[in-house]
Structures are given as C-alpha cells and as structure tokens.
C-alpha cells in the first residue's frame, strides 16, 4: 500500500498527472496526513498562500421545485407548508439591506425549479437587480436551472445563457453536478439535467466567456470509482475549456431528505480525504473550496491544510443546506473568517466572484 502512495508522491512532486488508478489508490490509503500533505503541496504550487473568502448574500428565490431529488431537503411542492417564493420587491429589499455593509459585493442566486414561473421572470430579476445594484457581482443559476430554462423557454442553451449574461449574470455556481453518472442520477434525481446536459451548459458558458464552478455531492450511494470518474470528467472538461474556476465538495447531509432513514452522514475523515484527493486529481482547476456551511468552520479551517484555498463567504441568508439540518451558524462575520484563515497560517484575500483580489489582511 505504501508503495502505491510512494509512487503517487513521486508523481505529485514532479508535477505528473494522476490517473484513475492513482485516485482509487488514494482512497484506499488511510494515511490521511500524508494525502493531505500531498494536496497541500499541489495547492501551494497552483494557488499559493492566499485563501479566498467573500462577503456575500445567498438568495434562494423559491423552494418550490419540480425536481423532487432524493437527496434534497430544500425543494418542496407548492402545496407544502414550507413552500415560499420571494417577490421581486422582497429580493430587492434583502439586497438593499445587505448592501448597507459596504463590503457586500457578491450575490449568489440559486433556487428551486418553480413549476409556474416563466423563463422571462428570471431574466427580469437579473436585469432588475443589475439595474438597481450595478456594483453587485451576480453569480447565479446552476446548470440544472439553466436546463430548466431551456425546457420552459424552448430556446437553446446558448440563447438562454447569452440573454442572462446580457441581463447582467456574471458567473455560475457549481451546484447540480452531483455525480455526473446517469445511472446514479436516475436513482437520485431523475427529473433534472442529465450528465451530458449539465456538461453542455458548462461548456457553452465557458465558450461564451462566462466562468463557472463545479461541484460533487458525495457520501450517498455512489462508489469511490464513481467519485473519481466524476473528478476526471470535470478535469477533461477543464482541459477542453479552461472555464472552471472553483471546485466545491458537498458532503451529503441526509437529514430531512428522502434518504434520511437509510444513510448516515459520511465522516469528517472522508470529507478531508475527498478534499485532498479532489485537489490532487483536479490539477487544472485553480480553486478548491471548503464550504464552511457544510463542514462547519473548524473543519473548513482544517480543510485549508488538506488542499483547499477558498472558504466561501459570510453567506448571509443561506437556506438550502440549513434545510438539511447542518449545524453551522447561519452566517459568519468577516472577522471570524479572517481569523480562521490566519490561524491556518495563510493570507486572507477578499475577492470578487472573478477572483480579483479586493484586498488582503
């Protein structure tokens, strides 16, 4: 076993690309600190000592969703007592309130697939937000939402994306990728974008000059091989387009989902290992994010030692993960993020969604 790790170490140190077998061997190994150290070496080479965070606001326009994905604690039917839909005015009010903090520059908009809202409604929301808050950076709509827009509007992916970009959309978040394997998707999320569709949205966005993130939802029914294949699929996409900005690992939180009774949340051991292996496999992606909302801040901070260079933002207003019962706080102050990054021996760098560093501390 150590032999496999020695060989992988030699490859990593000489900058060679890891194979599918290497990825599986890494998962097989339990030498967590060593895997972490390898990932940390790669992190230093690729993204240096900055750790990115931003001051941001999450807006989830609605939780009414036709998806009914098995792993989702957020989406619900229109008739549910949990159902809500924000009006345009309340969206603007929320932003206005958050914008009283001069550091707040980034909006993160992801939502359920509402059965009744027309595509034009989303276009209008983006236009209005951009018009009212021209300085806000708009990150919005996962590949899954874009495919939904394509279906309800009858337009092509390209048309939808171009129109949204024209309206003011600047980047796309990485959600909805889950595991890009259609057998799994059929079991877990049969009503939403297929692997090919998700990839096509990302590819098209990149061609149009828009950066996107990518993610992986792990710790449900997938195998280690499927995780590695997912990472390799993303690596291939990135080789082709170069448009992936940040990769985010989402551990599956079973609470309040349809899978609650049969799956327990994976371990933090697995979280850190997955973080490190992602950093090692995705040698062409600049940023690996430790999303503290899912990991909790203490573990996100540890993840900074296991390959991550981004800790996400202050995350005002986040609803999706908190619906799944995650125990982290609802939002964090900028200062607590800065303190955590510094204690990990790194340089906090505030950035906009395009990773232009606004300032360091």
């Amino acid at each position: 076993m150590n032999n496999a790790l020695d060989m992988i170490e030699a490859k990593v140190l000489s900058g060679q690309r890891l194979t599918r077998e290497d990825g599986i061997a890494l998962y097989d190994s339990n030498d967590l600190a060593r895997i972490g150290y390898l990932a940390d070496t790669v992190r230093r080479r690729i993204s240096g000592d900055y750790v990115y965070y931003d001051v941001n606001l999450h807006i989830n326009l609605t939780n009414v969703c036709i998806g009914q994905c098995k792993f989702c604690a957020f989406g619900c039917k229109a008739t549910s007592d949990r159902a809500y839909s924000l009006t345009k005015q309340s969206v603007l009010d929320r932003i206005a309130k958050a914008a009283s903090d001069p550091d707040m520059k980034n909006l993160h908009i992801v939502s359920g697939l509402h059965p009744d809202w027309p595509y034009e409604y989303y276009l209008d929301i983006i236009k209005t937000i951009k018009h009212t808050f021209p300085d806000m950076h708009l990150k919005g709509f996962t590949g899954v939402e874009i495919m939904h827009f394509v279906k309800i509007s009858g337009k092509s992916i390209r048309e939808v994306l171009s129109e949204l970009m024209e309206a003011g959309l600047e980047t796309m978040p990485g959600g909805g990728a889950e595991i890009l394997d259609d057998d799994l998707r059929k079991k877990l999320c049969p009503n939403k974008a297929t692997s090919a569709e998700w990839l096509e949205v990302a590819r098209t966005a990149h061609k149009l000059g828009m950066k996107t993130n990518a993610s992986m939802l792990y710790g449900h029914i997938e195998t280690v091989e499927q995780r590695i294949d997912h990472l390799l699929t993303l690596r291939n996409l990135q080789d082709e387009t170069g448009g992936l900005q940040t990769f985010i690992c989402f551990p599956f939180e079973p609470k309040n989902t349809q899978l609650e009774s049969c799956i327990i949340r994976t371990s933090v051991w697995d979280d850190l290992k997955t973080m490190a292996i992602s950093r090692l496999i995705l040698d062409n992606v600049h940023n690996i994010k430790a999303y503290w909302v899912m990991l909790t801040l203490p573990i996100a901070m540890l993840a900074l030692g296991f390959g991550a260079n981004d800790i996400d933002g202050t995350v005002g207003g986040e609803k999706i993960m908190h619906a799944a019962g995650v125990s982290s706080q609802k939002s964090l102050t900028k200062n607590s993020l800065i303190a955590a990054i510094k204690e990990a021996g790194r340089i906090p760098a505030e950035c906009d969604c395009n990773f232009n560093v606004v300032r360091t501390f």
Binding site: A33, R34, Y37, W269, M301, A340
Partner: protein, 369 residues
C-alpha cells in the same frame, strides 16, 4: 533556520526533542508534517492498534471546596444544585452498569473536593464497587483528590494510597494536572493541589505500582512555553518512574467558567487541538499511549486525531457530567460498534483494552452477553 531543519530531522527520525526544538516545531512546522511524524511515533509504541475501553464514569459529588475558576462543574457549599451520592446510590449505578454494559472492564470515578465528607467514605465507595463488580478495574481519584484526602484524614499521601489500594483501587486517572506551573495555578485553580503536590502523588503511586495517566488542561491563560514546559515536566517524571500509562490532552472549554468570563477566552479550534496532539506525541517519547477523549473533542475530531498520533479513544461512557457542564457537545453514550468503526475507517485495528492496557478478549465478552 539550521536549528529548525535540525529539529525537523530529529522529529522525523524519532529522536528526543529538546524544549527549544519542540517550541520551534510547534510554532513553525506545517501541521501535517507534525502529524506524519507523530503518527510514526505512535506506530513505534502501539503499531497499528488503536484502543478503546468499555467503562462507566461516576462523579460522586459536585460540591467543591476549591471552586477553581477553570471549572464549570463544581458548585459552592449550600448550592441547591449540589449533590453527593450515597453508598446506596453508588451501588445502584454500578449494578445498573453491570446489567446494561456487558463486558464492562472499568469504573472511572472522579469528583469534586466535597466538604464534610470523611476519607472513609471514599474507601467505602471503592469497596462497594469492588463487591459488585470484583473483576473490573477501578480507576479513581485524581492526584488533586488524593491530596485532599490526605488533608482531611491527616494521613500521608502514601498511606492514603495504600488504603485505597487495599480497598480495590487499580489506577489513578490523570486529571487535575492542568498546567504544572504554580504561577498559572494561582490563577486557574488557587485552592487545589500545587504542582509539587500533584507530582508527589503521582510519584508515590508509581512507587506503589499503581499506574496513572497524565493530562494537561490547555488553551486558557497559559503561554505556549508554559504549555510545552508542562509536557517536559511529565516526560521527566516518566523517565524517573515509568508509571504513566497514557497522556490525555484536555482542551479548555471556556463555557460556564469564571476564568473565561474574566479573561475572555475563546474556545480552541480543531486545528490547534490536532496540532497539539501531534506535538505532545512527539515530545512525550516515553509515554506509551495518547488518549483523545472523544467526549471532549467530538467524534469527528477524535477520529481525525488518529492521523495526528493519538492511539486511544477512551471508552463508552455513561453519565459524564463534568465535561458537559462546560458545554462540550458530544453525546454521552457511545457503542463498541461505533468506536470500532471509527478506528477501522482510520486504517487501524480496534483493540478493546482494560484500564491497564491489557487487551480484552472479545470472545470472553461475548459470553457475558
């Protein structure tokens, strides 16, 4: 810089570290380097094994004459939340444990320094436990309590220990060490055993062939130097006596303590806790085991600590009041299966042990089931 390189080489090779070297590493070495070296150190002591034990904790009382500012557990005399267990209560708890915890190997007893209780009570407690569960190990009374017993009974430390051993005591837990530096103790626990007294009890116990654990309470007002010096003090004692079985780091939980109110102390991060476990494993080259107490660290961090040099997850614990009073969040019951899973996932072999680190024959236990 040369010194730093030198220190790194020594840590990697498993050679004994000096105070200055340890300090350099603690302040400068990347956390995962410390982890790798600490894991190698762990392997030298316990190979691929990670231990746990099946025990029950009993806290006899919470009314305390010391009222240490660091403590979230104790109450003053006369407080309506104060309690002391009668011998009948103790007997009930032990009988319940005997019924409900098949294969239990340890009863673990630590308590406050309760006023108006005579030393004979504690001897009777030990005898009571022994009479119900003659085969279990009784790990009881921190050195701080032993010093207290000596005071209330007028007996010597040695005599106190001898009487308890006769009654059935098998080992002392390592609590109450806090930071063995009287300048620090004056602030965090002025009214309990001094450093010299704590050390005296441990030495005497070791001479009487009673093993103890050693511990630290860190992350309050102590400096990094004081924190590390404490480990060197323990290492010196161990060179002399060889009687420490395990070292247990206790991170300070500020919640509900007077100390934290006065000094505005923030809880330690997981980062700091894991780093400290690693440096402790490296410094304490002569103590066989390093216990990370899952109930204090949380299950997740306790599991991670296995990658940072820890080799013991303690036990399944019922009724741990002291730590929960200070706001630790982990639930208080753990199962054998869960502990084994945590250990296996970390790539180690789970070994059930008794208080003295003898492995327990699991098949034997099956028969009790």
């Amino acid at each position: 810089m040369n010194e730093f390189l030198n220190a790194q080489q020594k840590a990697r090779a498993g050679r004994r570290l000096s105070f200055d070297e340890a300090l350099l590493l603690y302040e400068k070495a990347p956390i995962l380097f410390l982890a790798e070296w600490a894991r190698a150190a762990k392997k030298r002591h316990s190979k691929n094994e990670v231990y746990y034990n099946i025990n029950r904790h009993i806290n006899l009382s919470n009314t305390c004459t010391a009222n240490c500012p660091l403590c979230a557990f104790s109450v003053e005399e006369g407080d309506k939340n104060g309690y002391i267990l009668s011998l009948a209560n103790v007997a009930d708890i032990v009988r319940k444990a005997a019924r409900e915890v098949p294969g239990i190997t340890e009863i673990h007893i630590v308590s406050s320094l309760c006023p108006n209780v005579e030393f004979s009570y504690y001897i009777d407690v030990v005898k009571t436990v022994k009479s119900i569960l003659p085969q279990v190990n009784i790990q009881a009374f921190t050195p701080v309590e032993i010093v207290h017993f000596a005071k209330i009974s007028g007996l010597s430390i040695k005599k106190v220990l001898q009487l308890l051993i006769e009654a059935g005591l098998s080992a002392l837990p390592g609590g109450g060490a806090e930071i063995l530096d009287d300048a620090v103790r004056k602030i965090i626990c002025p009214d309990k055993a001094t450093s010299a007294e704590w050390i005296d009890v441990v030495r005497t116990a070791h001479l009487l062939k009673i093993p103890t654990n050693a511990s630290i309470l860190y992350g309050h007002i102590e400096t990094i130097e004081q924190r590390l010096q404490h480990l060197f003090t323990l290492r010196d004692i161990q060179d002399e006596t060889g009687g420490f079985n395990a070292f247990i780091p206790f991170p300070f939980y500020p919640h509900n303590t007077k100390l934290a109110q006065k000094y505005k102390i923030k809880p330690l991060t997981a980062w700091e806790n894991l780093k400290f476990i690693a440096i402790a494993r490296l410094i304490l080259d002569n103590i066989a085991h390093l216990k990370s107490f899952w109930i204090m660290l949380s299950e997740e961090i306790a599991q991670l600590s296995l990658a940072f040099g820890a080799d013991d997850l303690d036990g399944t614990v019922g009724e741990e009041k002291i730590i929960h009073a200070a706001g630790a969040k982990a639930g208080s019951l753990m199962t054998r299966t869960r502990l084994s899973e945590m250990i296996t996932q970390a790539g180690y072999i789970p070994v059930e042990r008794d208080s003295l680190y003898h492995s327990v024959d699991n098949f034997q236990n099956q028969k009790h089931l």
